[in-house]
């Protein structure tokens, strides 16, 4: 289950960054090169991830502040979403 969630989170990130999913590496930081998602895109990414989380665990949510946190990596984002869905 968690592998599927991680794959899906990467699909949302790849769409926001306009990169193929196959190019999205765990160690990439959302705000930094090569993803370079700015605060606006991270805000919209949060709303997409929130919608996804709520389809699987309606009592949980994710905030813009959590996704805009400096240094947050793809791996960190996946783990955050998995934690929220499986909590």
């Amino acid at each position: 289950m968690s592998d599927l969630i991680k794959q899906n989170v990467k699909a949302y990130i790849s769409s926001a960054a306009n990169m193929p999913v196959s190019e999205i590496k765990d160690e990439y930081v959302l705000k930094e090169d090569p993803l370079k998602l700015d605060d606006t895109k991270l805000g919209f990414l949060t709303l997409s991830l929130r919608g996804y989380i709520k389809t699987l665990n309606p009592s949980e949510t994710i905030t813009v502040k959590e996704i805009r946190k400096n240094g947050l990596s793809v791996k960190g984002t996946c783990e955050l979403v998995v934690k929220k869905i499986e909590s």
Binding site: A11, T40, K41, G43, L47, S48, R50, V64
Partner: protein, 299 residues
């Protein structure tokens, strides 16, 4: 003073190259942990992504060369609508803008509260069977308030701004990252449309306060010529005075272009060159034509 600037740049370049494991990074991490951001400004433009800046400038309209300092600090964020399909965030900010230009001395301390509102979800292309509601191009709204103490003229100035921009995950649309064949980041662009209200004492006539509103449209383009090394920003703003009672001129175009060099393939520190021309809102809407050598740092 001009002779010292290359030396200063050289020293700071050395600092920047070694930034990855220096006390610079430790300070940056401390800022992150305390949720404090430092930028050039928090005026609602894409300058919010630009680093705080120390620059040496040449004014083409006078014989002045001078130093300039632009620092904005975002203190914290208050996020509302945490369970909704929208996002609303308020944040207080404090800014300091200082210029030693004898033709336009500036020393302003600025405080205010800004907000950012994302009303709709953004649709994603090629996302398979995952939840994917939203718009192909979605608006986002920003409001900024600025209450400034002008220490030069010993007056208080007010500016309130509301603007809408657009973002998308679809190629060639605003806010969609463009990339080269190797998927390197190459750039992004955003259009803005908005209204601003100003209350500025001594703007045109000494002793009189000008109150006026402006419609504006702005286009911001970010483009990387050389991956992780050389960045170009272009920003064009057209403002129109919609308050007929104001003595301010009706058409106020303004253009800025800048080129930045990031040593050592890091993103926290850069040096650059900026050219701006037009009626600058930060210089009381006076006609300016200024070139700058800049040292930028971002936390």
């Amino acid at each position: 003073m001009k002779n010292y600037f290359p030396i200063l740049i050289f020293i700071l370049l050395s600092v920047g190259v070694n930034a990855q494991d220096s006390c610079w990074m430790k300070f940056s991490n401390w800022m992150n942990n305390n949720k404090i951001s430092i930028r050039k400004t928090f005026d609602g433009s894409k300058s919010e992504n630009k680093p705080a800046c120390f620059s040496f400038q040449e004014n083409h309209r006078s014989e002045n060369d001078f130093f300039n300092l632009d620092i904005g600090v975002k203190l914290f964020e208050l996020e509302l609508l945490k369970d909704k399909t929208s996002s609303l965030i308020f944040y207080p900010k404090v800014e300091w803008h200082k210029s030693a230009d004898t033709a336009g001395l500036k020393n302003k301390l600025d405080g205010g509260i800004n907000f950012e509102f994302l009303p709709f979800l953004l649709k994603s292309p090629k996302i398979g069977g995952l939840p994917n509601k939203g718009l192909i191009v979605a608006p986002w709204i920003q409001g900024t308030s600025s209450f400034k103490r002008n220490f030069i003229d010993k007056v208080y100035e007010t500016r309130l701004t509301g603007q809408v921009s657009f973002a998308s995950n679809y190629k060639f649309m605003p806010g969609c990252t463009f990339r080269d064949k190797k998927y390197n980041y190459r750039g992004i662009y955003y259009p803005y449309f908005g209204i601003e209200y100003n209350k500025i004492p001594d703007l045109i006539t000494k002793g009189e306060t000008e109150e006026f509103s402006l419609f504006f449209s702005r286009l911001f383009i970010d483009f990387w010529f050389l991956h992780k090394t050389i960045e170009m920003n272009i920003e064009g703003v057209y403002r129109q005075n919609i308050d007929m009672s104001s003595q301010l001129r009706k058409h106020l175009p303004f253009y800025t272009s800048s080129l930045y060099y990031y040593p050592g393939k890091q993103e926290a520190f850069s040096v650059g060159f900026e050219y701006k021309q037009g009626y600058d809102s930060d210089s009381k809407y006076q006609l300016v034509q200024i070139s700058s050598l800049k040292v930028n740092f971002k936390f």
